[in-house]
């Protein structure tokens, strides 16, 4: 997928001014965090599971070569095949080659963020193969030719009226006078429209939440059951996934599964957790005849051993996104690539380069909510800070900003000067603001005052109050 992350600021402004988006985000803002909190409160062991989850992933990454080889061997032993891909291009080529060898015309897809990452649908379409997204949210945005705006709720930026409009425009064969007002009616319509596609598909492509090295299995977690129809009905099942999804054993997967649904939607467990190992067995009445796994690297192996390695623990639950005040204000499209929110702000520069994604690590207030809810305790703010440092070191930020930062840093390293200047500035600002106590406009601060007033400092600085407290404490 082509990245537009460089336009983050403009896109964020557009998002703030988009009424439908703001209505849709309003529904998500409170729902996800509340449901997660209730689920976590019901499980006293949740904190312990987070620690275990973190060490499982750390252990696997430290020995990733071993587990990948073990996994590949087990997939082969169960009759499947692993295709390795260093880049998006190689991954798309591998999928295309499998589809072609089967003479595939229609490909159904379960939700896969890796497939979004490699831009698979465009490649399939360019080669005369019709990809059909089957997750309801993915289906809606495919009809609208939009990218997902959230990693588990891809159409979260839309309100139901927009979905109805899209269905009316695209489902030509249905009666125009039909009622399409409630989500229930839209779900039923999508179910009826997609069912024949499931049955007609030659190839089914799913992602994977986890890969189990011990057994050569792939695991998908869904609520709709679309992933299961996608991988059960066609002759060929392709698992489109990436190397960091490995875990050693089923027991390890079970721990992460206990974290995943609770962190994502606040469910105790998603409706369907499906463990697949190889193609159909002799005597089976259904299931695919071929089982392929396309295993993508795309920059992940280069993250190992760097300050960004911890990001490879991510299990794509979206808790950080659901708890991010910046995401909640501007929505997912502003981030301009596949992965939005805090996890996207760290992962996107790692995968497509800081030159392309420089704005994203800056799109954070560092409030720390993302890290506090991460099921595998990824230090997201710390890693965004690392990216900001790299951006600065590479001279990618604007000159005014860089100069300002150097001046501030120079002053901040000289406490006496800093305190003196701060005292003068706060007194001057307080005086200039007068009765109102706030500024409509300030030189050098237009970025702030364009959208809100700048409050003037009231009274004395913390430092001087602190010094006074210390003195009076000493006197007593």
């Amino acid at each position: 997928m082509l990245a537009t992350s460089r336009n983050f600021k403009a896109a964020a402004r557009a998002g703030l001014a988009n009424d439908n988006l703001q209505r849709a985000l309003g529904l998500a803002r409170t729902g996800f965090p509340l449901r997660r909190r209730l689920a976590v409160e019901r499980l006293p062991e949740f904190e312990a599971l987070r620690d275990t989850g973190r060490s499982i992933k750390d252990h696997t990454l430290q020995h990733l070569d071993f587990y990948l080889e073990l996994y590949e061997g087990k997939v082969a032993a169960s009759g499947g095949k692993v295709h390795w891909a260093r880049t998006s291009e190689e991954a798309c080529a591998a999928v295309l080659q499998i589809c072609r060898s089967a003479g595939a015309k229609i490909v159904t897809k379960g939700k896969s963020m890796v497939a979004e990452e490699i831009g698979l649908n465009d490649v399939l379409e360019a080669n005369g193969i019709t990809p059909v997204e089957t997750d309801l949210g993915e289906y809606i945005i495919q009809l609208r030719h939009e990218p997902p705006s959230h990693i588990i709720a891809p159409a979260i930026h839309l309100v139901k009226e927009q979905v109805a409009e899209t269905f009316r425009a695209e489902h030509h064969s249905l009666a125009p006078e039909r009622l399409l007002v409630e989500p229930r009616q839209m779900c039923d319509e999508a179910r009826a429209v997609l069912r024949p596609r499931f049955l007609a598909a030659d190839v089914g492509i799913t992602g994977a939440n986890f890969l189990v090295a011990e057994t050569g299995s792939s695991i998908i977690v869904t609520n709709e059951g679309n992933g299961d129809l996608t991988q059960t009905l066609p002759r060929i099942h392709i698992v489109m996934t990436s190397i960091e999804k490995l875990v050693p054993t089923f027991e390890d997967a079970a721990t992460l599964l206990r974290l995943l649904a609770r962190s994502a939607t606040g469910q105790e467990f998603s409706s369907y957790t499906t463990i697949s190992t190889g193609p159909r067995r002799a005597g089976d009445l259904d299931g695919p005849e071929q089982y392929h796994v396309v295993l993508l690297d795309n920059g992940r192996s280069a993250m190992i051993g760097t300050e960004f390695q911890d990001m490879l623990r991510c299990i794509r639950c979206s808790a950080c996104i659901n708890h991010c005040p910046v995401y909640a204000a501007v929505g997912g499209h502003a981030y301009g690539w596949v992965y939005p929110g805090p996890m996207g702000a760290v992962l996107t520069p790692s995968l497509i380069g800081i030159e392309q994604a420089g704005h994203l690590p800056n799109a954070s207030t560092f409030c720390g909510r993302c890290e506090s809810v991460c099921p595998v305790k990824i230090p997201l703010p710390k890693m965004m800070r690392h990216w900001r440092e790299r951006e600065y070191a590479k001279k990618l930020s604007p000159p005014v900003y860089r100069t300002g930062l150097s001046v501030w840093a120079w002053v901040a390293r000289r406490p006496a000067l800093y305190h003196a200047l701060a005292a003068i500035a706060s007194r001057a600002l307080g005086w200039a603001a007068g009765e109102r106590g706030r500024f409509r406009a300030l030189p050098l601060a237009a970025g702030w005052t364009r959208v809100r007033d700048m409050p003037a400092p009231e009274g004395r600085s913390f430092h001087s109050l602190w010094a006074q407290c210390q003195k009076s404490a000493g006197a007593r």
Binding site: R258, D284, G287
Partner: protein, 243 residues
Amino acid sequence: MSEARERILADIRNSLGRGRLDPAGYAELRARVAAHRRNPVPARATALDGRGRLELFVAMAKEVQATVTRVSSAEAVPEAVARYLAAENFPAELVMAPDPSLDAIPWSTWPLLQIRRGRAVAEDRVSLTPCHAAVAETGTLMLISGAQTPTTLNFLPETHIVVVRDDQVVATYEDGWDRLRIGGPTEGLPRVINFITGPSRTADIEQHIELGAHGPRHLHIVLVENDQALRREGDERRGASAG
């Protein structure tokens, strides 16, 4: 061996700052996998006795909108199924897994139930399957694929009925998994293991939870308690797969 494979593995080792693991390292990791040691497991279900687990399973399953009928013998299953279908206004017509574990149920005592045995096809409205285990922790059913238990039954029809014996109720996912491992560590792993927790659902439009997105809209559990005949059937089957 593909070039991409070798390059990716080399890149990983390079990033880890080491070459291939030495034989001792390999042996250590192989031992970790072979031990498949359990990580800490929530006490919610493990702290309970058999009766408590059963009640927890039922409560958790109902919480996710599964419906449950409890019967005291295999003889009572056909009537329970027929009554459920009638009450919901569903056709008394179902496709049933060709699994011998369901043979101990006297289906002929309820002749109005039309039963076909095999995999599901697009036209089927109701399916009936056995299960491998039922996990109390989250009210989750564990189903496995096989010649006698095709996966399409679990997903194509709008209504899925699952017959659960009380001795199939276990505390955790790991317990259900251990029952699979009886025949050796991973030999003979079925193609698919489905953990099913309530009916299909989606919240993709305005966070509104709707049941029956693509899979079954109704998940009905018939729980058979204290039935000796059905248990014997189950034990024999498990014994056979262990041999």
